[in-house]
Symmetry: C2
Subunit: 146 residues, 2 copies
């Protein structure tokens, strides 16, 4: 894999940034999440069935709260559609979410739109919008992220 980093296309880099986001949701380490986002007042995060959180402070707080729950989550992204436009890029993908709670296992599906900006050569998330799709009903959506 020598020289792989040097020859990565923008699409590969954006795909990798998107994967790091889902990895951070799975490791549940806030530092991993911090590394994914643009830590600024214009970043936006819309969790399923929620109003938009504006600014990385509010977004970070939501992840800290999610990660501190008793549940553990494993999220896989699939079917990524990547568009690059200058220093902006967006990824639309499916999310398949497995949740282990003290009460048992749950699963849910969501659709996500993730927007990234290239800042200092790195693709960083500025927007995440996830919404449930009826894999399970909205009522079955795990409490940890609803």
């Amino acid at each position: 894999m020598k020289g792989e980093m040097a020859t990565m296309t923008d699409e590969q880099r954006v795909r990798e940034a998107n994967e790091r986001f889902y990895m951070a949701m799975t490791t549940a380490e806030i530092e991993d999440m911090d590394a994914v986002w643009v830590e600024d007042a214009k970043s936006i995060c819309i969790h399923p069935s929620r109003d938009a959180l504006i600014g990385y402070d509010a977004i970070r707080e939501s992840w800290v709260s999610i990660f501190s729950g008793e549940s553990s989550m494993s999220i896989a992204a699939g079917n990524e559609r990547i568009t690059i436009s200058g220093d902006s890029a967006w990824v639309v993908c499916n999310e398949t979410i497995s949740v282990a709670t003290p009460d048992g296992l749950g699963a849910a599906a969501a659709q996500a739109t993730n927007i990234f900006r290239r800042i200092g050569g790195e693709w960083k998330m500025v927007l995440h919008h996830a919404s449930a799709v009826p894999f399970t009903s909205q009522d079955d959506w795990p409490d940890v992220i609803n």
Copy 2:
């Protein structure tokens, strides 16, 4: 207001493009919707609780179907947050939706992410992602758009 068009900022132009989209949903004229979108195979539309539609052909078909229903819709966007990055822009906004059906009136709230690209000097929609927020419950979401 002489010369207003010439001095419009990009933010104003993007806001106007976003408003044209909601106007098209309200007039329910497919030609108005056509004028808003980039009619291309990479455009993406995610209606509430639905999987992504890829490509303007599939997107157009969904609007034709929505517009041909017995219900009439009136949508107001509010609390727009606009980010411009080169020839791309995204708007996050609240949607307040009133629906008149043969059975009566309904209302719903949603969060939307809309992405635009500047093409030939015009800001055109390339992505719309809407998801319900619990103004009403997911189960009360009007059938016409669910």
